[in-house]
């Protein structure tokens, strides 16, 4: 009898435990994020994990359209700029409310700009004292206070804002589309102070409900959202932290999340083979490159650089190591950018030509050793990063493939890596002879790619590459507002970089996002953060 009772209770317990658990509620969209957000105040964050969430809560004056970085109206209905590109006048949308019920108007816009721009603004100063920084404002607009390119922001009337710039800035609108410049409710920021990042209030389609530390952030549809035509299609959004790539996939296959970011390249085929899943590709906004150190005598010879460019089989690398989601890069800008040079003819994979160029340069017997500027000789080391990045999902394997290609033409390299922080340190100090790195764009403007790297000739960060003519072209493009003129200059810049073999651009990646097939309307944006009001879940 006693035994029967034990067995019976065992069965009941097992039934309770192992029975099908509660499924995700129909009107909830669950997304798997790679970790814990840092903060939900868009002005002080720079990371993709946090801004994926803030993009749902806040909106800026302008936004990027769908899967592009084309700037379209958001909280500003329209705008105009004066002839010399220094005065921008924005007409704001009427009837927009923040989630706390306060009105979004010109005063709110002025307040937000003042907070970002003025280091003595109480809601700026308190953040800095607490160790936060308005890093993107500083980077995109030249600094704070007197250093800022934005000199004046005024409310002309409740629905018109005028922004005056010190000098014209080509990427101005693209900058404003970044998540950092989304509008926060002044009343809520003042009320919460430093804790605003945990109690975020914006005008976006979703309203913040709860941040369960270490677990998830919960949002719900905002009933008074101004854009009725694009009101959220789901009632709730849950963004869960799942640190491990394999576990995110397990959670997707088990139906615990609807989709996620950060799929192992090897798992792309697993997802493609599952009839219940789909893969969406994020339009590429990232470029992996191989950089030279120009303090090394051998690399000062253009023929050696050309030989290396001809020796690397980029297509082979992309086909084998990007899980079918990579593209061969021909230049710094990814093809999604409007400054991309379609006419540019890249160095073809041609080991014979590489050998002949090396011979011409005096390395007919091969290249094993390099000479630093002070005459010190050492074996040629090729450095690869120790961590996976969007542009190099498998850095070690890619480095091995490049080393094998170089060996075929007689260039012997020793593969080297170190801790990520040390790697970046060495790169910053110009200590790496030949190395892999890359870039992911912030705002869809070519300036953010090309000028960021080539506008300071001779910088140690960029391997001491010095090309004043290139810098002049880029600085000229930065000051124009006419897109056509700017595009022509960026195309010219890319040609100059290619002609001089300043870098070798290997691949653009289109990060794959796996989703349940029930998910409709998810449009990945190149800038890493998209809006979830378009997402619906099929029954």
């Amino acid at each position: 009898m006693r035994l029967t009772a034990w067995v019976a209770s065992g069965i009941v317990l097992a039934g309770l435990l192992f029975g099908a658990g509660p499924a995700i509620a129909q009107s909830t969209f669950v997304f798997g994020n790679q970790g814990e957000p840092v903060d939900l105040d868009p002005a002080v964050i720079t990371d993709g994990i946090s801004n994926r969430i803030t993009r749902q809560i806040y909106e800026g004056l302008v936004k990027y359209k769908g899967a592009t970085t084309e700037v379209v109206p958001s909280l500003a209905e329209k705008w105009e700029v004066n002839k010399d590109g220094t005065v921008w006048t924005f007409t704001l949308r009427k009837g927009v409310k923040f989630h706390d019920g306060t009105a979004f108007d010109a005063a709110a816009v002025v307040w937000n700009f003042d907070r970002w721009r003025q280091s003595k603004h109480p809601q700026h100063e308190n953040q800095v004292k607490a160790g936060k920084s308005f890093e993107y404002y500083e980077k995109q607009f030249g600094g704070f206070d007197d250093k800022s390119i934005i000199t004046k922001v005024e409310a002309v009337n409740p629905s018109t804002v005028r922004i005056t710039l010190k000098t014209p800035q080509g990427p101005f609108l693209n900058n404003l589309g970044m998540f950092t410049f989304d509008m926060a409710s002044p009343k809520a920021v003042e009320k919460s102070g430093l804790a605003f990042g945990k109690n975020p209030v914006g005008t976006g389609p979703f309203k913040f409900v709860e941040w369960k530390v270490g677990q998830e952030v919960i949002l719900e549809a905002f009933k008074d959202y101004w854009d009725k035509a694009h009101a959220p299609k789901v009632q709730r959004v849950v963004i869960r932290n799942i640190r491990d790539n394999s576990q995110r996939l397990a959670a997707l296959k088990a139906g615990e999340v609807h989709g996620f970011e950060g799929l192992n390249p090897d798992d792309v085929k697993v997802v493609r083979a599952d009839p219940n899943l789909q893969i969406l590709l994020r339009p590429t906004n990232t470029t992996g490159y191989v950089a030279f150190n120009f303090k090394i005598k051998e690399f000062q010879d253009k023929r050696v650089r050309q030989a290396i460019a001809h020796a690397i089989n980029k297509k082979g690398i992309v086909d084998a190591l990007y899980g079918g989601t990579g593209l061969v890069a021909t230049q710094f800008q990814p093809p999604s950018l409007w400054g991309y040079n379609k006419e540019l003819k890249d160095y073809a994979y041609n080991p014979e030509q590489a050998k002949s160029l090396l011979k011409d340069a005096g390395f007919g017997q091969g290249l094993k050793e390099i000479t630093w500027e002070d005459g010190k000789k050492e074996p040629l080391q090729f450095w690869y990063m120790p961590v996976s990045r969007p542009y190099y999902p498998n850095p070690k394997e890619i480095a091995e493939a490049i080393a094998a290609d170089l060996a075929k033409v007689g260039i012997t390299v020793q593969l080297q890596t170190t801790d990520w922080a040390v790697y970046l340190d060495k790169r910053k100090n110009g200590q790496l002879p030949l190395y892999m790195l890359g870039w992911t764009g912030d705002n869809g403007d070519p300036d953010n790619f090309v000028c960021y790297f080539f506008c300071a000739p001779g910088a140690s960060t960029e391997g001491f590459y010095s090309n004043q003519k290139l810098a002049d072209v880029l600085l000229q493009a930065q000051k124009l507002t006419d897109l056509k003129k700017r595009a022509a200059l960026y195309r010219q810049a890319e040609q100059m970089i290619s002609d001089d073999v300043a870098r070798i651009f290997i691949a653009n990646n289109q990060p794959p996002l796996p989703f349940s097939k029930k998910v409709k309307g998810y449009v990945p944006n190149p800038t890493n953060s998209e809006f979830y009001n378009t997402v619906s879940i099929e029954k």
């Binding site: 499924a23 530390v213 576990q247 340190d425």
Partner: protein, 334 residues
């Protein structure tokens, strides 16, 4: 006893001072500028310098240590560099998840490990003993991340019986009181949350229990075998006492001492957060938290959490020592 406990407690202090020096020293020995590590590809020299000043890294090491110890003595474990939250606050929010998981794992380990060890010792060299030793060996040598992933795939994805991770599903709401989910669901009489919490606990607890279970099993077997060969056991058997009574009442009491020692060590180890298990199952405990902090070079968290873990470890060991007297009345502390 109380005097002994107090004396032992006092010996903890130099241990903790030592640990604080080691923790502080080691993190500064790690190569790479923490400011650069935090800022990544976008680090500008100005920003790096700002962050260095902000972290106090521009001060001499001894000054940094002095400030650090002073704060600890005031109960301030520092503030997270990344999120700006007080470390102690975060620790208290996350520790219940770790405790819940650790206790469940140790419960599974003890409930299976000890009986299996007893059976192995009593019927030594039987088929059961052979199997049990093999399983124990596998348990000790199996990498947890592999086992965790397999459990999640088999029971979560393929069979769909149990969740693949997390503490609760998205459709369940539970009002936090103590942050121990099982306890909170009982306090708030939330049956659905209780079942869901239990279901979420099964896989991580099983994965985490394998090593302690194997260790406890092997220790129980070895220790019981030694006791069973002693004279007083033969005497008890000769008196005609039933075997069950001889083993459970006479032999086990003595055999339990080393088992308690290893169990104590395992509890200490599990309470310090199981980084791999917590990462694989997205369990929001201190293991996952420390892992993230190490990656982000969030010094205050790494330092605070390590000190906390060391304290827990030392306290659990002290408690185990004190428990000896309860199990074995011959032991007296002076």
């Amino acid at each position: 006893m109380a005097q002994y406990a107090f004396k032992r407690f006092c010996t903890i202090i130099p241990v903790l001072v030592g640990i604080s020096i080691i923790v502080f020293g080691f993190i500064h020995l790690i190569p790479g500028d923490p400011a650069v590590a935090m800022l990544g590809e976008r680090a500008t020299p100005e920003r790096v310098q700002e962050v260095r000043i902000q972290l106090g890294l521009d001060q001499p090491l001894y000054t940094q240590y002095g400030i650090y110890v002073g704060k600890i003595l005031r109960g301030d474990l520092g503030t997270s560099i990344l999120r700006g939250d007080p470390v102690l606050h975060d620790l208290m929010r996350r520790f219940p998840a770790t405790v819940e998981l650790a206790l469940s794992a140790i419960l599974i380990a003890v409930l299976i490990g000890i009986p299996a060890g007893i059976v192995s010792a009593v019927w030594r060299n039987s088929i059961f003993d052979g199997c049990s030793r093999l399983i124990a060996l596998t348990g000790v040598s199996m990498p947890i991340f592999w086992l965790g992933l397999m459990l999640a795939w088999v029971f979560g994805v393929m069979l769909g019986w149990l969740p693949t991770g997390f503490r609760l599903g998205t459709s369940i709401t539970l009002t936090p009181v103590t942050h121990f989910n099982l306890l909170d669901s009982l306090i708030t009489s939330n049956g659905a949350a209780f079942t869901a919490s239990l279901r979420h606990l099964v896989l991580p607890a099983v994965a985490l229990s394998t090593i302690p279970m194997a260790v406890i099993n092997r220790m129980t077997r070895a220790s019981l075998l030694e006791v069973l060969s002693q004279d007083y056991i033969r005497t008890a058997e000769a008196k005609g006492l039933p075997q069950r009574g001889v083993i459970l009442r006479h032999a086990m009491r003595n055999a339990l001492l080393p088992v308690m020692t290893v169990t104590g060590l395992q509890v200490g180890r599990l309470l310090s957060g199981a980084i791999l298990t917590e990462t694989i199952f997205s369990w929001p405990g201190i293991g996952l938290w420390i892992y993230e902090a190490i990656q982000a070079r969030d010094y205050p968290i790494v330092q605070g959490a390590t000190l906390f873990i060391a304290t827990i470890f030392v306290l659990v060991n002290l408690l185990t020592d004190c428990l000896y007297a309860v199990v074995d009345p011959r032991i007296k502390y002076d």
